[in-house]
């Protein structure tokens, strides 16, 4: 079953990506010649691994043909959302054992005074005070063997699955954390112990503690999942999987199981890595990305060909301060429900019909009009133009939009148009936020639109942001899976590096760089320093290399600060942390259209994925893609690309 399947035989050396979503598990396999083959099966929530293997088997590739497999998983997200992770006991510095409850003291909602933040992953009665204290100048209270023994005894009495140790100022000097961890290993050799400074060696106790707790909470579940998946894949004669990290790299399964918290945004990262690969082939450097699904849309940013990676962010209310590909999610998608509020205004979302019952047009029992129904009424989605072979019930969609229109006293077509524009407005805001917040002018970026709904909204979003170029990638509906297939293998390590830039010598910096580099293998190596003005809480990351000294780093920081914020200060500069990325190049395929698939039918507006020499279409009109629908708005001209997919340019008047 599925989109983009071509009839010809599949050859060997396939790089495969499998992306698990809420409804579908998508698989893409990229051949050395750049052709892509995609499959789609229903997600198996009880064990994602069943769907992963089924999607791979649907490729119909001979045994051994898939030689590389990267997996994007929501297993960590689900553990955090459903609160079904491990039983964690947290050991924290006496006097500061309530950090998880105190958070950063801001309330959950500005005006909804009854709203609570999600409960911490560890309740108060499973937090143990450690009688120790380190300060900026040294140890104020020494942790001794007796203290360790007491903590170990109290913690083990609580029957933990995992023990997390997070002590004040340990980012700089973790000796108390390692001493206590050692005591646990002696007393309970099989027990999993996580130290916070090893997970995130950075200043700011709340974020570091919360991240370490998330690691401990998710690790056993991730381990179990990956082991079972590995067994299944081995039985089916597929290679051992690597897993996509939130930062857009990948880790072999065994390594990933020890870095559970780094997988929290595994899924969305894949899409943006895929978009970056398409941009590279299309020769475009800077872009905003929009991935539109059934319930939500993810906006991202790619600068100089690289997905923007930042530390921070929260998943299911749990802050995870590890590097992650920037993604801003808004509740607007094809399934978003249109309604009329008590002020008489037409509204769209945040409630969604999701996959079940789904839009009215899907005929699965949905009765409330959605964005997809509005698209059907506007004639932008033709019958059969939906992935998964769903036949569309246009009459039912029209009736639902008609009921909404009657409440608003408007006609159905205008109402449908307004529904789509309301969803566009939400998404445009997300795109503006990811760019403007980082000092990037959207007008100098291209827009990459993907996901099932991306190509439908692309022109309107580009219009709203005054962007000139839109790229609809090949396999827009499964681009995340394509991104996984192509992901470079990346390993990251980090260390605290608190030093005034003036005092940092080239020798000391090189030593720090090499200490990190010795911990990971990889062909390409990069070092990134987090830097700030002394006394400020706001940091920027700049590239550096062994041999640089503090002055060189400070100069780069000043230039970056000026570029992003428009000014620089005459204040001293200090380094905060050092991050090292070691990578192997990803599957280096160049996309191309499938010579054996049916050519583009320009008159009928259907792109089967085959040859498209010189095809140019002018809006307004729809084009049915292999796994999505492209809407070319009036004023736009679409050119079929040799790499597959389409490039849209504004028509010059």
């Amino acid at each position: 079953m599925g989109a983009g399947t071509s009839p010809r035989a599949v050859t060997g050396d396939l790089a495969a990506g499998v992306d698990v979503g809420g409804t579908f598990t998508d698989c893409a396999a990229v051949a050395p010649d750049g052709t892509v083959r995609a499959t789609k099966v229903l997600t198996t929530p009880e064990d994602q691994g069943l769907g992963v293997v089924a999607a791979l088997e649907a490729l119909g590739a001979p045994a051994g043909a898939v030689t590389r497999l990267v997996h994007g998983t929501t297993v960590v997200t689900n553990l955090l959302l459903e609160r079904t992770g491990a039983r964690v006991v947290l050991c924290a510095t006496a006097g500061a054992t309530d950090l998880l409850d105190l958070r950063r003291q801001e309330r959950a909602a500005l005006y909804d005074l009854a709203r609570h933040h999600p409960a911490p992953l560890v309740p108060g009665d499973r937090i143990i005070a450690v009688d120790e204290r380190r300060t900026v100048t040294g140890i104020a209270r020494q942790l001794d063997a007796e203290g360790c023994a007491r903590v170990v005894r109290d913690a083990l009495a609580l029957a933990p699955d995992v023990v997390v140790i997070a002590l004040l100022h340990a980012y700089d000097a973790p000796s108390h954390e390692t001493m206590l961890a050692e005591a646990f290993r002696e007393a309970a050799p099989g027990l999993a112990v996580v130290t916070a400074a090893a997970v995130l060696p950075e200043i700011r106790e709340y974020e570091r503690t919360a991240t370490a707790v998330a690691e401990g909470y998710a690790r056993p579940g991730v381990q179990r999942y990956l082991e079972r998946l590995g067994d299944r894949l081995r039985t089916a004669r597929f290679p051992a999987p690597a897993v996509m990290t939130s930062g857009g790299g990948m880790r072999p399964a065994g390594d990933a199981a020890q870095h559970a918290a780094s997988l929290a945004l595994s899924g969305p990262a894949g899409g943006i890595v895929g978009a970056a690969a398409v941009l590279r082939d299309a020769g475009i450097a800077d872009a905003l990305t929009i991935d539109i699904g059934g319930t939500s849309a993810d906006a991202g940013l790619i600068l100089e060909g690289e997905p923007l990676v930042e530390p921070g962010g929260a998943v299911a209310g749990v802050p995870i301060a590890l590097p992650r590909v920037l993604v801003e999610t808004v509740s607007a998608g094809g399934g978003s429900i249109a309604w009329v509020d008590d002020g008489g205004a037409l509204r769209v979302g945040p409630r969604s019909a999701g996959a079940r019952p789904g839009p009215v047009a899907f005929g699965r029992g949905g009765s409330e009009p959605t964005v997809t129904d509005a698209q059907v009424v506007l004639g932008r989605i033709g019958s059969g133009g939906w992935s998964g072979g769903v036949a569309l019930d246009a009459a039912a969609a029209a009736a639902a939009i008609g009921r909404l229109a009657a409440r608003l006293g408007a006609d159905a077509l205008r109402t449908a148009d307004a529904v789509v524009r309301a969803a566009d407005a939400e998404m445009a805001r997300a795109l503006r936020r990811v760019s403007v917040d980082r000092g990037v002018d959207p007008r100098r970026c291209a827009l990459v639109a993907f996901g099932g709904g991306g190509p439908l909204h692309a022109c309107a979003l580009a219009d709203a942001l005054a962007m000139q170029t839109v790229l609809v990638p090949p396999f827009a509906g499964v681009l995340s899976a394509v991104g996984l297939a192509l992901a470079p293998e990346r390993r990251e390590v980090a260390a605290s590096l608190l030093a005034p830039a003036d005092a940092l010598t080239a020798a000391a910096f090189s030593e720090a760089c090499e200490a990190l580099a010795s911990r990971v293998a990889g062909r390409d190596r990069a070092w990134l320093v987090r830097v700030r003005y002394a006394g400020q809480g706001h940091e920027l990351e700049v590239k550096a290399a062994p041999g640089d000294d503090g002055r060189a780093i400070a100069a780069r920081f000043t230039a970056a600060h000026r570029a992003q914020y428009g000014f620089a200060l005459s204040r001293p500069v200090e380094c905060v942390a050092l991050r090292h990325v070691a990578s192997e190049p990803g599957a280096g395929a160049t996309f191309r259209r499938d010579a054996q698939a049916r050519p583009v039918d320009a008159a009928g507006g259907v792109d089967h994925g085959g040859p498209a020499e010189g095809v140019i279409l002018v809006g307004p009109r729809a084009v049915t893609l292999p796994d999505a629908t492209l809407w070319i708005a009036g004023g736009w001209r679409a050119t079929a690309l040799p790499i597959g997919g389409w490039r849209l340019d504004r028509e010059t008047a």
Partner: protein
Amino acid sequence: MTPAAHAPLDPLELSVWSSAVSMIAEEMGAVLVRGALSPNIRERRDASCALFDVDGRMVAQAAHIPVHLGALPEAVRAVREAGPAPGDVFLLNSPWQGGSHLPDLTMVEAIDDGQGRLAGFAVVRAHHADVGGMSPGSMPQGATELVQEGLILPPVRLERAGVPQEELVALILANVRTPEERRGDLAAQRAACEVGARGWRALLTRHGHDRLAAVASGLLDYAERRATARLAALEGAIGEAEDALEGDGVSDAEVRLRVRLSVSGGALHLDFTGTAPMVRGNVNCPMQVTRAAALFVLRALLPDDVPTNEGIARPIRITTPDDCCLAARAPVAVAAGNVEMSQRITDLLFAAFAAAGVDVPAQGQGTMNNVTFGGAGWTFYETLGGGQGASAHGPGPDAVHVGMSNTRNTPIESLERAYPIVIERYAVRRGSGGAGTHRGGDGVIRAYRVLAPCTVTLLTERRARAPRGAQGGADGAPGENLLNGVRLPAKCRRELVPGDVIELRTPGGGGWGPPPA
């Protein structure tokens, strides 16, 4: 967006337009926060941005801090009285002419439509770390006159038709303690205004003056409809309440507040008759702060998705006595009114709603717990969260900012790196929330050991009068301030020697409903 220019805004278009104007205000906020130098704007986000149409009506506001809610229209009114020409950029902070308290510097750009006509106003208010006056930080303990609190700016032109007035900038910077930081923060405000002006001008070019006026009317009418729809459900509600501040900063005598609230004819009437006259210390607040507190309380009764514009404020009618600490006039001091009196008005109004039988939470901590340490060459200021009141919907959240503030804490590790202070204890103050069917939220304990000689200034409230419970719930525990274990007054200043420990225990929220037997 095709309809005739004068046609009223179609319900089909409301949410699209609402997004379009909110997006501009949000973008102003992003540019401000990115460009600002001081941590107070950059990290704590003590700032707000708003967009006004040519008639001075606020169409969108991006607020991080509730105390700025609805206070900005007053600033634009003051600027319009000064006869703005297109391209003029004003700065003001005078509480008597559109300001709140002096550290809040408000910049207003009179937007030029590109053809020399006035098109609207872009407004950015930001709390500056110092604007001169008798003590660093410009929030002086014991001030009795506004001139002691800092440089007073009526609406003055920083730019005349786009031409910077350098002498005025020099005058301002000569009267503050940290001129370079101020210059940077003002530049960020200027950049944010410019983004607002550009965004508004783009809408204007595309849709024309008439259409934009119809849009502004439509958006305000819509927000008003959402607010009046809520008030309609409360029609006939009448409630009275009393509360008090524990001293005005000069004397410990209580400052009494009183309100009679009624909902009739779709309007919310707030009559503060019986409230204390203006006081000698600086807890007075100008009317716009009182209005901001009233607007916050109404906003908390509305669904979260109602857009923030001037329409929400339309149904609010406020009456105060001639001489009233909630409608302060020159020349009294007002610095603490913004931070503590505003909290007390919020408490008072929620109590009046509760008395009227409206479903509102019990009282929260009702203070921002302002703590300032100052030593040789350093100053550290922060505010502390506490307990939120419980409600019919569940227990009150623990350890959060309530009411008119929502700033973040300072990480222990960052604080200890930057200042000669060690945090001995930072904890939830267990059991401080009032008992009830639903418990009030717990307060916070924070103990600071100083490592160098310094001065501590405490500006706190709810140290004597506890946050009250509701519907039979028990009161929260009042807060406590301690120096080496010995109790200190709610508002005080002390010289400290190395080793001294200042400990704040912030109030718990009130409980809701009778406690289980």
